[in-house]
Assembly symmetry: C2
DNA sequence: CTACATACTGCAAGCGATTGCCGCAATACC
DNA sequence: GGTATTGCGGCAATCGCTTGCAGTATGTAG
């Protein structure tokens, strides 16, 4: 039913090889022939069968992307950055959402890997050992998650976190809370350690709550814990939790940015749109995505056996309306 | 380098055909042989080459999904519903975000189509003619966009819109604004016509603004227009615009849900989390997604030449905190 | 006029699976 | 015990395209 290369060949009286070359390697064929082929292809409505092409050529011109949860606003900008960058290089991106099921990640990666030239996994949740199994299906790069022996694009939370604590102390806060993310989250470990270090360095008292899932609902739940405590400022594992927190606090009559300061992490698009606007630690997701694409593409072009590259990106605090002077005691 | 079927065949002393059957059609082979093959495959680390499998079998066990913008919170629930439903039936979903570039949609669809067994396009932005070209690459189903001659899952905005206007008039509002979505958006046309009809039916004065892009920023811009007008209630093309509107109005000291009522459309996850919570017209995205999957799968199983199915889903109003009695004049 | 590049194009061998058809042996039946 | 059945497994064709190699024609040089 569908038009194949052979049909075009027959229509033009040429061989399949020539048609193939005319279409995908124009320099190797006589300009006149090329045009004739192109015209015929167009007229017949020929669309190359990518599957066949991949099978014989060995590449797909696709890069695979695995994210934990597209509903989390942290990811879309990353995804878009990746798509844009890949598009620039003539690659298509296919996205898979594993819906926060760590168990699926590895398996999905294995399957997808067979259909793409390279893989990018953003913030994978699976255990280090399991991810390690994946390191071998090069090219693969892990974003926002350290996996020894594999290409990594990492985000260093320390700077931003230090800035955040510094910002709060400057505003007079002396006791603050950290709302933990998922217990097994690598990011949470990083962030938690960074804040503990920052608080210790700056002599601020820290209490912890959680773990909380990176969802608005969890922030709502967190709000009541915070409300009952005596902290004057809160740093949340991510913007979603911060947002849920703010909403719930507003309901209970707490004026965020006045009675209580809140800082989120990720600097997702929502943070500028909440009310009050959310002070947040900017995580360079888009840059990370673009870097990841460059790494994958690089690894595709010259697959070396050298130690895979590791890139570190930095975070910084973006101050908005949710942080203010500590209330007088 | 990679282990192939032939390798497993050689290792077991069997033929490739037998190995193939043992792996993908277990009943056609002796249990003992089957186990032997499985073990060998496991030991060798054999992973079937999906590309080859697709080429020869003609199917991919994948369904393609094209969405305009994953950053728009309206889509993730749909995407997840689609993935869940497809997963249940043993299919994988690959997502492509066309980033609101209508021009890309058709081309992307053509390309993707070659790698999947069926296609779902959610809220495509391209013109009807262009979409019509796609109708032929069956199975394909359009969600939230009517394309004559193709399978459709449509959402009827009329009910929800009527409820919304009714709700507002019951609260005493007599003059309201509609914030238009993108000019060429099919949904916007539907919604606009529905609200015009509802207002006419209920004797309410209507003013229109826009078009606005479905983004929070656009809502911010809309806010100033609304502020300067004399309406007491606003219905926005979607929740994002409504959210941006509310944020900006809050900044300007307008108490939404008191001085002014706001209704969004989509009932996206954000709406319950804003402050005040956003009254919104619930659009059954998840149901639409699931239905779409069922349609595609159905069309794959028995490709008929009959008129492709069209399913209509309904909307309803979900009242939250952003709507209240009209202020006394 | 022969000899040798040069430029295109065709041949045919894959890529790695699936699958219809056939043959063989073991089992069943009478 | 002879023949019809049935169950397994192998052969080989096929999916649609790419690509190394070889062949032919044209052009240039000697």
């Amino acid at each position: 039913m569908p038009v194949t290369l052979a049909d075009v060949a027959q229509a033009t009286g040429l061989s399949a090889s020539t048609v193939s070359r005319a279409l995908s390697d124009p320099d190797k064929v006589n300009p006149h022939t090329r045009d004739r082929v192109r015209r015929a292809a167009r007229e017949l409505g020929y669309v190359p069968n990518q599957t066949a092409r991949s099978l014989s050529s060995g590449h797909h011109d696709i890069i695979g992307l695995i994210v934990p949860d597209i509903a989390n606003p942290f990811f879309p900008p990353i995804i878009k950055a990746i798509q844009a960058r890949a598009g620039l290089k003539g690659k298509t991106v296919i996205i898979t959402d594993v819906d926060e099921h760590p168990g699926d990640e590895v398996q999905r990666a294995q399957v997808i890997r067979k259909r793409v030239d390279g893989l990018i996994m953003v913030s994978p949740r699976a255990s280090e050992e399991r991810l390690h199994e994946l390191a071998h299906l090069n090219p693969i790069v892990f974003v926002n998650r350290q996996v020894a022996g594999a290409a990594n694009v990492l985000v260093d939370n320390a700077d931003g976190m230090a800035e955040a604590v510094e910002h709060l102390t400057a505003l007079g806060h002396r006791k603050l809370a950290y709302l933990n993310g998922p217990r097994r989250s690598w990011s949470n470990t990083q962030r938690r350690e960074a804040i503990v270090a920052a608080c210790a360095a700056q002599g601020v008292e820290l209490v912890e709550y959680g773990p909380f899932e990176p969802q608005i609902q969890a922030g709502v739940r967190a709000a009541d814990l915070v409300y009952a405590s005596e902290v004057t400022a809160v740093i949340a594992y991510d913007d979603l939790i911060a947002l849920g927190l703010m909403t719930r606090l507003a309901e209970r009559g707490v004026r965020v940015g006045h009675d209580l300061s809140v800082i989120g992490i990720d600097d997702s698009p929502m943070s500028g749109m909440a009310y009050p606007t959310l002070t947040s630690i900017h995580v360079p997701g888009a840059e990370a995505g673009m870097t990841a694409v460059d790494l994958v593409l690089g690894m595709i072009e010259n697959p070396s056996d050298e130690e895979p590259p590791v890139v570190q990106l930095e975070t910084r605090l973006v101050v908005r309306g949710s942080t203010a002077l500590a209330p007088a005691t």
